[in-house]
């Protein structure tokens, strides 16, 4: 008789899900189903709303990463209105977005996914969480983690209006300018973030890479999926969080396609499965073949790890150093002058998160406000 294991709900991430695992007579996994038992229907209730309301409605898709949805909707407004934000507005947006990914990656590494490693995969379920992390690493280090989240949420609130569900996005601009004092605070925050990223890379090194059991787990086939990789790249083909084109590489690392975000519907489609409210996106030009690995399956990943998989190295020297180390640890060969063959071991995503955070936002070095900088609007 088939034995069934139900994981309900899945935990330490944003969103609802359950997993049904069916075992065969030998006790091995026969089949697994991931179900999303939740639907709100933004596709429908956004219809009839004002275009400019989208940044404030679609950010409620996810309150862990509302900044991403707020920015995507704001950029869609740029396109709808046919306006290009002035340079200062773009830089403020990028600074805001950079504070977001620094705090978001910190949240994930220390509170969501990371506790599996920091507290340990065999630790009791009641300890695999942010509070367990703090007891493991000590209150002082715990406070360093909390301080990183706090200072970046402060920047998000200062530039976006609110720490969760910001509101400053406008077509062709951003409603909040920054003062000279605020600029200094942002710069200081960015510097502290880089120090914190280096600290986190060291913590990853000490807690994970120096533990042969964990390394074996990371490098094992259990968590390996050979899929297409997706990420946003700048004009140099390098990692960018705010702007650029979407690049996709195939499981071997060959560039499959690079397109402007507005052309997404030519490249992506979604299929519907009867047992989940979630729709399943895939690469349209490859096609949906089910949950299959490999070059013939349209399944792709868009994660901190795949952002690096598509990038022609990293834009700054220190990040480049950590990037090189990660790809050589996994034994990846170079597929271009600066890019390595993709890593498909999903647990490496944690490593990629901390490496990305050692990249300062490009806007940081080039932003020089005038004393009378003002709110930017289109028109």
């Amino acid at each position: 008789m088939t034995k069934r294991i139900t994981i309900d709900p899945i935990t330490r991430l944003e969103g609802h899900g359950k997993i049904e695992i069916f075992l065969n007579d030998d006790g091995d996994v026969e089949q697994t189903y991931f179900q999303v038992p939740e639907l709100r229907g933004f596709e429908q209730f956004c219809l009839g709303r004002k275009a400019e309301d989208m940044p404030n409605i679609t950010n409620r898709i996810c309150g862990v990463c509302p900044e991403a949805h707020h920015m995507a909707a704001t950029k869609a407004l740029d396109a709808v209105f046919g306006v290009e934000p002035p340079s200062a507005a773009k830089k403020i947006r990028e600074l805001f977005y950079s504070a977001f990914y620094a705090t978001d990656h910190t949240t994930h590494f220390y509170a969501l996914g990371g506790p599996d490693f920091i507290v340990g995969p065999d630790a009791p379920a009641s300890e695999r969480n942010i509070l367990g992390v703090i007891s493991k690493v000590g209150v002082e280090i715990g406070k360093t983690v909390i301080a990183c989240r706090a200072r970046n949420h402060h920047i998000i609130k200062m530039l976006g209006g609110r720490a969760v569900h910001p509101t400053a996005g406008l077509p062709g601009g951003w409603s909040k300018s920054i003062s000279a004092d605020e600029r200094l605070l942002i710069e200081q925050t960015a510097r502290e973030n880089i120090e914190f990223a280096l600290f986190s890379l060291q913590a990853f090194d000490d807690l994970v890479l120096k533990n042969s059991g964990y390394v074996e787990l990371i490098l094992s086939d259990i968590y390996r999926h050979r899929t297409y990789s997706m990420g946003t790249v700048d004009a140099n083909g390098q990692l960018n969080f705010y702007d650029g084109q979407v690049r996709v590489v195939d499981p071997d690392g060959a560039e499959f396609v690079q397109y402007a975000p507005k052309d997404y519907a030519e490249h992506l489609a979604e299929t519907v499965l009867p047992y989940s409210y979630l729709k399943y996106p895939y690469l349209k030009q490859v096609g949906w073949k089910g949950f299959e690995d490999g070059n013939d399956s349209g399944v792709y990943a868009a994660t901190p790890l795949t952002r690096l998989n598509v990038s022609e190295g990293m834009p700054t020297p220190r990040a480049q150093e950590h990037y090189e180390r990660m790809y050589t640890t996994f034994g990846c060969a170079k597929v271009s002058a600066r890019r390595y063959a993709p890593i498909h071991h999903r647990l490496a995503t944690h490593w990629a998160r901390t490496s990305s955070c050692s990249t300062p936002p490009s806007a940081c070095s080039s932003w020089r406000p005038t004393p009378r900088s003002r709110a930017m609007r289109c028109g």
Binding site: E43, F45, C62, V64, K143, I146
Partner: protein, 345 residues
């Protein structure tokens, strides 16, 4: 040492922003952990539903319940957590007012399903699969919760002790409530709003308020507003005047209007009705002085036409708890009563 009281946070139809707002109490998290056993929170902790089912009734001192009631599972969890919690708090705008998910009450379940699974621009669904309650796969049956006809608030299904409004509630306000409980101070009467003020956002907003006389309304991208003057006086539909205080006036601080996420102020049941009253009161009557009745009506209509989508603007966060509840409240209540009956022990 006596066992610490248990505290939990659950999400129904929600976004996870309430959880991040809780984590954003930052260093106070350590005090929270010192004073409470944080037992359930799918976003942050590995506790499962069966762990909660195994608890004694009333075992948890406080549950912060966020999210609206969209599916039968949301309603089941509302009943389960009601039973297991001494104090059940409707946390955030979804649980208290329906929030963004309740905008779906402006349409029907059928239309929503058709858009999501039948006609989306990137959809590949030629055989028109629509996810449903039971799917038979070779290994057995897979189940999904029922997608209810409409979106309800927490109070539409179960008895609620307190409300903490906001989308999400501001972290300083969340901590103030928790610190109040830790200090052992008495709680206000059941049904009270916690973690917010009893006035309006305007009372906290730093902008200068003078005379409100508006000849037309402006959309946020139509004008660059003065940075110090009241936004409503400048013709931007700022919901501050019909929204409970508590956030400190954050959105007007970055030159954007209040969008009403703290819900109706004290003593007001319907936020949209309050706002429409306020808008009516500020339309400049001077140009209408010598107009005939028909022209006056046309003029007012013209002014109001400068605000498209009144329902989505004035009820963005409170439709589920409003007097009209999207117009489908009766059907919703009937569905929820049936579901509640079938899930009761």
């Amino acid at each position: 040492m006596a066992a610490k009281p248990k505290i939990s946070m659950y999400w129904a139809s929600s976004c996870g922003g309430c959880e991040i707002a809780l984590v954003n109490i930052h260093e106070h998290l350590l005090e929270l952990a010192d004073n409470f056993d944080f037992v359930f929170c799918p976003c942050l902790l590995d506790t499962k539903r069966h762990d909660i089912e195994a608890m004694d009734d009333g075992e948890m001192l406080i549950t912060f319940f966020n999210g609206a009631l969209r599916t039968s599972e949301n309603i089941e969890m509302a009943h389960l957590l009601r039973r297991k919690s001494t104090l059940l708090v409707a946390f955030g705008s979804c649980a208290s007012g329906g929030c963004i998910p309740a905008l779906a009450n402006l349409t029907t379940r059928e239309a929503l399903m058709e858009t999501v699974y039948g006609s989306g621009p990137t959809l590949d669904n030629a055989v028109h699969v629509v996810p449903g309650p039971t799917t038979t796969v070779p290994e057995g049956d897979l189940t999904l919760p029922v997608f209810e006809r409409t979106v309800g608030t927490l109070a539409s299904a179960v008895d609620v002790d307190y409300v903490i409004p906001g989308c999400p509630p501001e972290s300083a306000q969340i901590w103030a409530v928790i610190a109040h409980v830790i200090a052992g101070k008495p709680l206000p009467p059941k049904g009270s709003v916690l973690g917010a003020g009893d006035k309006t956002v305007c009372d906290d907003c730093k902008r200068v308020k003078e005379e409100k006389l508006v000849s037309r309304f402006h959309r946020t991208w139509e004008i660059i507003p003065d940075r110090t003057q009241c936004l409503l006086e400048q013709g931007i539909v700022c919901m501050g005047i019909a929204t409970r205080s508590g956030c400190g006036g954050l959105c007007p601080d970055v030159n954007m209007p209040c969008i009403g996420c703290y819900g109706p102020p004290e003593g007001v049941r319907d936020q949209g009705a309050k706002m429409i009253g306020a808008l009516g009161a500020i339309i400049d009557v001077q140009p209408m002085k010598d107009m005939g009745e028909a022209r006056v009506a046309a003029h007012i209509a013209e002014v109001l036409d400068t605000i498209p989508d009144l329902a989505g603007t004035l009820y963005k966060f409170s439709l589920g708890g409003s007097l009209m509840q999207g117009g489908l409240a009766t059907a919703n209540a009937a569905t929820q009563a049936t579901t509640a009956e079938s899930t009761a022990r």
